[in-house]
Amino acid sequence: MRRRDFLQVAVAGGVGASLGVPAFLRKTWAQGGPIKIGMPAALSGSNAQYGIQAKRAAELFSKDIKGKGILGRPVEFIYEDTGGDPATAVRKAQKLVEKDGVKFLTGVVLSSEALAVSAKCPEWKVIFMSTINGAGALTAKAWHRYFFRVNTSGPMGARAISLYLAEGPMKRFFALGSDYAWGRDSVASFTTQITAAKKEVVGTDYPPVGTKDFASYIAKIRQSKADGVYLALPGQDATIYLKQAHQFGLNREVKPIMEILELENMKAVGDAMVGAIGSSRYPFTVDTPKNRDFVKRFHDLHGVYPDMFDGETYEGLEWLGQVIQKAGTDDVEKVIEAWEDSSYEGLEGPFFMRKCDHQAVQLGFAVEAVKDPKYPHPIPKILATYPGEKVTPKCRTEDFS
């Protein structure tokens, strides 16, 4: 058989096969088949717990819209493991866009990955929806119209906890940030805001990522006679710090203040974490009817309570679904228009997607880790809630007026 003959047979066969497909299936094909959402998430490596949170949220969302779909079309999630590496993330995202034909990317875990993937989205003409990434630059220097951030950013978290501390009795602070972009940015942002509130930062240190013995830093923090220590350490490093500081008896003398107070830490550290305060992007203990119902559905499906990125990713997906519904199409340009200046009732309260930098304006929380006999681990208790206008930076900046 020559090549041309083969092609003819193949094409004829293909046409025949498609005519033989039941009518209801052909109808969905005519509309473009399922709505595909690509998740190039870190599912292995030291940041896997965050990728797994994004995946858990997507699984619950799939279950919730089963049968209904979006625009009557089924929703399909395609997961790719990036291992937390920016170059791999770009490669996997490109595969999702070019081979699988996704129009929406989400679930990217690290800010470094997000910056790399987001930079390619104007060229690919796909929407990048951040539900995890904290780096301020994503909605400032590096912003473009294909990028949307549903989650609270790093500077927004630092703002919420600074507002809380400004009203409190603590005066002297030590700042400990992991030695990379997020840790250093957070410490800088915290220092600016806390100094503006007439408080003092008495010492700063940047331990390397992956530090397993914090004894030297603990000795320094104790010597500084600070009232509180501001910690911008990623999940595992924070767990180790808190555990060791507790063994040295430091947590009683110097209150731990976390950039993000996560369940992941509370589960691993246990009672030694009780009393730590910090900001939370989504505390699952928020008492709204919508959230109570979400927490129950989430716990029924996964057997655990939702952590910050479980909640924020779920909100992102639900909002995106509503926006596509409103646009009446999954055409990327039309979805962007429908999303800009739109509102959404999230789990913890109202969200507003401002047009100028696509940062979702939302409530900010200061929380404390407390013991509650109803739960197997400490839980976040809400100390203060701040309205969106107070905790969202000026458009396309990382600064607050």
Binding site: S46, Q49, P208, D213
Partner: protein, 286 residues
């Protein structure tokens, strides 16, 4: 003064943990001539199995006693089922194999335990701090220093004063000659590999109350352990002890006195030593 004392104890604690890991790494290289990338994973395995044992029994001590032999047996099984067949191949095969084993074991632990770190509490009477003059120091850390010291002395005595130790040293020096003289070299290799894994497992159990058991702890520790072994000299227990003390001191004192250099200071020390003694402090020139 209290401050200097505290920094000294911090260095000794870290050295104690590093010794438990690097001693095995060094022994395996000495006897098997294999650079074992999977060694850190056995440390991690020790920490996770320690967590399981504590959850099942409610006690810390059984973990310290039961886990190391379990990890050791697993290590010995892996050696006799995989590594044994490629000793004669070029080192790149052994590198690929041990690296592959490390990845497989790490992912297996992720599937079994999930991504969240697992914390263990020290036993009740090792919780809290101990007063040494004006200095308050966590009791558990003093225990880790003691454990490192006891194991170091025990391993050294075993290698120097027992017949089994003599055979091991003979195989390390010249395995073919030892074979001719009637030593069962294959068995020695399996036993040494198992014992090395057991030591790493013990290190993992001891580390868990300080650092929790977490994914990635194996990769983190193996880098430091390699630096220890390079400084001390491959295949030498005395070298492991000296190397652990040097790396422990460089890391803790570096972080305290010269925080900006915390990352590089350990490698700077290693570089300096290698310039004068390329075979390490206690290694033998080849």
């Amino acid at each position: 003064m209290a401050n200097l004392g505290e920094q000294l104890l911090n260095a000794l604690t870290l050295a104690g943990l590093l010794f438990l890991v690097s001693a095995g790494l060094s022994l395996v290289f000495g006897i098997l001539r294999v650079v074992n990338f999977a060694h850190g994973v056995f440390y991690m395995l020790g920490a996770y199995l320690g967590y399981t044992t504590v959850m099942l029994t409610g006690w810390f001590w059984p973990a310290l006693v039961i886990v190391p032999p379990v990890v050791g047996v697993l290590g010995a099984l892996l050696e006799s089922s995989t590594l044994r067949f490629i000793y004669r191949r070029p080192p790149i095969y052994q590198l690929l194999l041990t690296f592959g084993l490390a990845l497989i074991l790490e992912e297996a632990l992720r599937i079994l335990y999930g991504p969240t770190a697992k914390g263990i509490d020290p036993p009740a009477y090792l919780q809290g701090a101990f007063a040494l003059g004006t200095l308050l120091y966590p009791r558990y850390r003093l225990f880790v220093i003691g454990l490192g010291l006891v194991v170091a002395v025990a391993v050294w005595l075993f290698l120097r004063k027992t017949r089994a130790g003599l055979v091991i040293r003979a195989v390390a020096q010249n395995s073919e000659m030892a074979d001719c003289l009637g030593a069962d070299v294959a068995r020695v290799r399996t036993l040494v590999f198992g014992a090395a894994c057991a030591l790493a497992g013990l290190g993992g159990v001891a580390a868990a109350p300080m650092t929790t058991a977490y994914l990635g702890m194996g990769i983190g520790v193996i880098v430091d352990a390699f630096v220890v072994v390079v400084i001390g000299g491959l295949g030498s227990i005395g070298g492991s002890i000296a190397g652990s003390l040097i790396v422990g001191a460089a890391q803790t004192w570096g972080a305290f006195y010269l925080p900006e250099t915390a990352m590089v200071i350990m490698y700077a020390v290693m570089g300096a030593i290698l310039i004068f003694r390329p075979w390490g402090l206690f290694g033998e020139e080849e």
